[in-house]
């Protein structure tokens, strides 16, 4: 099992200045500290929809790499997204899911099927052909660069430990200034 922040740091080392990143909930708060950037897309409006927002961005801007940093509880809320993304097959979309087995932002309750669900197997069954699963940080650090450069869509499940309580100021994710900054940055390049 891996530490989420270490995984995110590994991803950040390979994220380009023009790449779009959509982190959710607890991951978002870690991510915006590690990679503060106007092309972080933080306002998803309803739980589970980050990867769907990402698909819209990927379809509309095929020149941009679009990276989703999803959660396991969030993905369970929108499993159909695996099928939809596999069918639409955007080459510029990479979908990571951080699996810690809990609804970390909602009290740390376990997700249904904790320890029995295989997100990687579900992605394969949904039609994804580039599917990865990591529980060892060293192995992930060695491969993440390649995952981020191969033609998408790609899916990778990161098995992480729960981080416990966080200070969460949701205005950092949902404030109008966040969306304006993203829109301006995307429009500029």
């Amino acid at each position: 099992m891996m530490d989420r922040r270490e995984c995110l740091k590994a991803i950040a080392r390979h994220v380009g200045d023009g790449d779009i990143v959509l982190p959710v909930y607890s991951t978002a708060f870690d991510w915006i500290d590690i990679r503060p950037h106007p092309l972080n897309y933080l306002s998803h409006g309803a739980m589970g929809l980050a990867s769907s927002h990402a698909l819209g961005l990927a379809l509309g801007r095929p020149d941009k790499k679009v990276i989703v940093l999803d959660g396991d509880g969030s993905l369970l809320m929108n499993l159909g997204t695996l099928v939809t993304i596999a069918e639409a097959a955007p080459k510029n979309l990479i979908h990571f899911v951080c699996e810690n087995g809990t609804y970390e932002a909602n009290g740390g309750h376990p997700i249904p099927g904790r320890g029995r669900v295989s997100f990687a197997d579900m992605a394969r069954a949904a039609g994804h052909t580039s599917v990865y699963e990591f529980s060892d940080l060293k192995g992930f650090e060695q491969q993440v660069g390649a995952i981020l450069t191969e033609p998408g869509p790609a899916f990778a499940c990161l098995k992480i430990v729960s981080s416990g309580e966080q200070q969460r100021d949701y205005s950092r994710l949902h404030g109008p200034h966040v969306r304006k900054a993203f829109r301006d940055a995307l429009g500029a390049g």
Binding site: S43, A46, L59, G80
Partner: protein, 179 residues
Amino acid sequence: MSLGEGPAAASTAAGLSGENILREIRAAGIGFVVSVPDITTSEGLLRPLAKGAGPRLIRVCKEDEGVAICAGLSYTGQRGLLLIQQTGLLDSINAIRGVAVEYSLPVCMMVGLLEKEVGVMPRQSKRYGVRIVEPILDAMGISCHNVEQESDVAKIGPAIDAAYADSKPTVILIGQRPS
């Protein structure tokens, strides 16, 4: 907030042309139609789209996915249209609330009204699942446009343009099966 109470209120069984609706959609600059099949628009709209008539069709598993896909598209300068049934609209209320309304994004939805009687405005329908749609949209502050007969098709482009100009969601209700 329904804007279709005028000529359509006197609608009879006069038909709708799917071809004309698609022409209006294309003219409005829609590049992607995101859809879960709807029986009202299945043959007249979705079938030609599936055959490649354009815009590009993106099939989704559930309607709230489509709300977010259209939201993502809206940031990119591309226009999307979510083509669904009112059952899917009702199922997606929270996504529409959070993504389209609270973030003030131009999510455009074309909604077929399952089981609506031809020539009857939605609010007057005997079907509970039909007559509640406009009051719910009113409560959410979402503009709504009734397309009941051929003369209403011309409302579609301006409704989409207004949604993008004002950065607000809009719903276009299709009241009978287009040919």
